[in-house]
Structure formats: C-alpha cells, structure tokens
Symmetry: C2
Subunit: 226 residues, 2 copies
Amino acid sequence: MHRTKVKIVEEALDANNTIARANRDDFERAGVKVVNFMSAPGAGKTALLERVVNDLPGVRVGVLEGDVQGSMDADRLASLHVPVTQLNTDPSFGGECHLDANMVRSALPGLPLDEIDLLVIENVGNLVCPAEFRVGEDARIMVSAITEGEEKPLKYPLMFRACELVLVNKIDLLPHLDFDLDRFLHNLEAVHPGVEHMLVSARTGEGVEGWRDWLARLGSGMQVAV
Amino acid sequence: MHRTKVKIVEEALDANNTIARANRDDFERAGVKVVNFMSAPGAGKTALLERVVNDLPGVRVGVLEGDVQGSMDADRLASLHVPVTQLNTDPSFGGECHLDANMVRSALPGLPLDEIDLLVIENVGNLVCPAEFRVGEDARIMVSAITEGEEKPLKYPLMFRACELVLVNKIDLLPHLDFDLDRFLHNLEAVHPGVEHMLVSARTGEGVEGWRDWLARLGSGMQVAV
C-alpha cells in the first residue's frame, strides 16, 4: 500500500506572531538588538532608561516610546539626545492598553535603524496585555516597583514569566514600606524559577550599573538572545 | 402631502452598555448601590477597602473582586467577614485586563444582593481599559498612588475623567519621594475639572474617615447617584 505523505503545518502562527517575526527579521538585518520594556504605570521605566542611555560604551541606543496618549516620556528621553520615536495607541490604534507587533511594524519606517545598535521599546504601562504580544524583540525586561507590593508575581504571573530580566525598582523606599523583599523574591521564583533579577533605584542610582551592563552586553551582541 | 413619521432610535447602545443597564436595573431593584473601584496594580484598592468595610454604620457591604487569576485580595477581605465573590478573567474570560458588564452579569447570581446595601466591584489593576467599560455602577472611584508620579492624569486621562472621586493614596510616603503634590493636583484639574479628591494613606489611616463617609453616604442613598 502506498501512503501519501501529507505535509503538516507544524506551527500555526497567529497574525501577531507572523508580524513579530517579520519585525525580528528586519531588526536582525539592520544589526539592531531589541528590548521590550514593560511594567505597571509609574514603576519607573523611563527613569531607569534616563539613568543608562548615555552610559553604554559603544552601544548607540534608540527608543520607541509606547503610550496611550501624549509624549511626556519621549520628551524626557529626547532631552538626553537619544533618538526617540513616539507611538500612541490612541487614536490610531483604538486606545489599546499595550503594543503589538503590527503597531511596532507601523513605526518601523520612522526608526533610525542604521544609526543605532539597541532599540528599547517602552511599552504601555500595564501588567496584563503587553505580556501577551511579541513585537519582534530579542529580550523582554520588566520593572516591578516595591511600592506595588510583594504579591504582584502571583497576581500577574504571565508578565513575570514573559521576561528574561526583572528590575526590582524603588529599592530606596524599602525602609519606609511594609514590603517583605524575601517574600517578593519567593513569589517571583514561584512563578518564574531562576529568572534573573536586580535590585535598583532609579532615584538614587543604587544598582543601576548592573542594569547598564546587562543592556550593554545585549546591545553589543554579547548577551545570548532568547 | 402626507409625511410618514419615522421613529429614530436616538441612542444606539453597544452591547456592553445594554448589559450594564440591565445590571443597573437589577441592582436598583435590590436596593443596592454599586461602586466601580479602579486603579493601577498595587495602588492600594484592597488596603483602602480593608480600612473601611467594617466601619460603615448601617451599610452592609459586599465585594465583587476582579482579578486575572487567584483570590488573594478576596481572601484578605473575606477574613474581615465581608461577603466576597471572586471574578477571574482567566480562564473564563480570556484573561482580560478589565471587567466588563457581561462578566459582572455572569457573577450576579452568586451575589447576595438581598443581604447588602453597597457592592464594591474591585476592578482589575489597570489604568487603561477598565475606564472604557460601564458595569452598571452608581459611581466610579479611582485610586492614584503618589508613588506612580505626578503625570499620571495626563498619561491616562480617560481613567481620571471616568470617575466621581479620586483617592490620592500612600500620602504617608510624601516626605520620601520627589513627588510634587501641587503639580499632580494641577494635572488632575486639567483633565477632570472639579473632580472630588481626597488625600489618604491606607497604611497609616490618614484621611480614611473622609473616604469612609463618602462610601457611607453612597451606601445609605444620601449621595446623589451620578
């Protein structure tokens, strides 16, 4: 008996993943490493970027700034002479609470990929939906401010799982909060065993050299892409 | 000439608003006032509820607790002997980042409406989408923690507009932050002129009597519904 071989499409991609792959291909062709940078509102993403963008030897950084409205964070970074592109989800993308691959693709023509080595995509402040959409990044980094409480990894597990590095920010406020750092780290380990984390304070600069070095390694191609 | 009068449907409702109205009708029939309680993750909604739920004379409170996963906040409130119902958006509602009218409607049969005067619906922690969906509430209250920064009203204007009361929480941390309270209040006034606000600390109890009284007035029917 003769068997006809049927070719099976092994991996059915949804539209977002298809576009994310196209983005990734374009970034790779341009030799640009890409970070998807996520957190709840006010956790300190922009402040942490301000601390390091001009301190990455040999790595030229660009930022794609995602917000529902406005360009306040983009203005802060542009004042540091970093090339910044603003991507607003309102009105062009229905006021969405996250960036997706198609939005990033729409921004691609405006990005100076020839002039940068590392693109940081600062996502909309939100602990839920941004974790669900790949945008073509090499690495996902999330910021969790200790002011948000110890239980956040348990309440938003997808976000804490969907990242290669967790920056535990506002560590300078530790003496003034009822925050149990050991319990937070225990919860983090429970939802994402072995994930790398750093204790930092964008305000005082504590711990930012580790964050800077991590970005520098990624931007210079020394960090293994994930 | 004879003109046929064509009846025009003046207000086209989307599905969410239709269901929100049905919820509202059911709440009114049961004599229950309803609050939609919103904030970013970790702003202190549950802690602010813990402060007041057992301190509302003559007002019996119930809570509908919205989370993506888990029941940590519900457990905290249940330990105070408040009737709590947990509504998880994952897996039943696709892991949504907000509550909508249909989710609340799905929870209605499990709510002890005959035994309460005031239902607080604690929404998913998120400053974007919860503001877009009415659920049948009488009032919307949002919490903004000063740790999130002064610019939040400008970055998430819909949320700050879509509420009748803003609780400015974690005010005990004011001496330890670079937070400009006047600038925050100026930004709040810019996006929602005249909105009522209260400075509170769930941690120290500062200002919570005003928040308690506001809820007590609403629960006893003295607060004008909006």
